[in-house]
Amino acid sequence: MSEELKYLWVATYKDESEFPQFNTDGSENLFGDIEQDRLDSFCFISTTGHKIRLDVKDDMRLICFRRHKINFIGKGEQIEYVLGYQKTLDGRNIKAMMIVDELGNVTLVDGDVNENKQ
């Protein structure tokens, strides 16, 4: 199933121009089309105007995806919005992420949100 998204993203470049998830004509831009080397900040904006912003440094690689959870028969969809970054520090791979649920609750994760896989 698919429900309306509660958070949309907007990327802001260093020249202050914006690259939104959706253009004014309704067409969608892909996360993969963001020019990461020009990024100044990246923002989740909720349908009610709530904003969650990440200032992007030059050594960061932005991470952004939606995590969907549905029940066994494909109903009851819940969406979490995951935003974070990866960078290499002193030869070590560093990841930090935050998970935003549909109510706007934020959970910070030191590391990878995929460490629950078997």
């Binding site: 199933m1 698919s2 429900e3 998204l5 969608e28 892909l30 996360f31 993969g32 952004c64 995806f65 939606r66 995590r67 969907h68 959870k69 549905i70 029940n71 066994f72 028969i73 494909g74 969809e77 969406i79 995951v82 995929n114 629950n116 896989k117 078997q118």
Partner: protein, 173 residues
């Protein structure tokens, strides 16, 4: 904008006819949701099995990529004498479930591609079963198939069971 995910159960031969799931009923026939017609009898001794069930997630609509498909339970299970197993192998060639209708299915490891099983209820949100970590992008596209089977022994209690909480999880960009 966002992928539409539906759950399909495959039944029949040779490749499996997909049925969009509104109920998953473990039973003793190879049919989608046969209401109460083919219950799993509680054995006086030994073990009875449901026919194994082949399920998959279907993704459709306008979306970019889906990956990291997982499944997990709330860890509680259906109660004494009842176990729900998931095949350790995922995405194997479909094979129709077999058994004796109305009596017992054949054990899941009779499936040519399933060599081992694990209690589905041991997979929880903090330790989930990886279903598919490839990248899906087609319209439609399908995550790898999982195979499930309910196992019943003589200590089980008769009657329709309360539904359990099982969760599919996937990531989308």
């Amino acid at each position: 904008m966002a992928a539409t995910a539906t759950v399909e159960e495959l039944n029949g031969a040779p490749t499996g006819d997909p049925n969009t799931v509104t109920n998953v009923r473990f039973c003793t026939t190879d049919a989608y949701n046969p209401v109460a017609t083919y219950p799993i009898p509680i054995p006086d001794s030994g073990t009875n099995y449901s026919y194994w069930k082949t399920l998959r997630l279907k993704f459709s609509g306008s979306y970019t990529q889906v990956t990291n498909v997982l499944i997990y339970s709330d860890g509680t299970g259906f109660g004494t004498g009842i176990t729900t197993n998931i095949g350790d192998e995922v995405g194997q060639t479909y094979e129709q479930a077999t058994g004796t209708p109305g009596a017992t299915g054949d054990i899941m490891t009779d499936h040519t591609s399933i060599t081992g099983v694990t209690d589905l209820m041991t997979y929880v949100s903090t330790a989930a079963k990886t279903v598919d970590d490839t990248t899906l992008s087609g319209d439609p596209d399908y995550a790898k198939e999982i195979v499930l089977q309910m196992v019943v022994i003589d200590t089980a209690t008769a009657g329709t069971l309360v539904a359990e909480t099982i969760t599919w999880q996937y990531d989308e960009i």
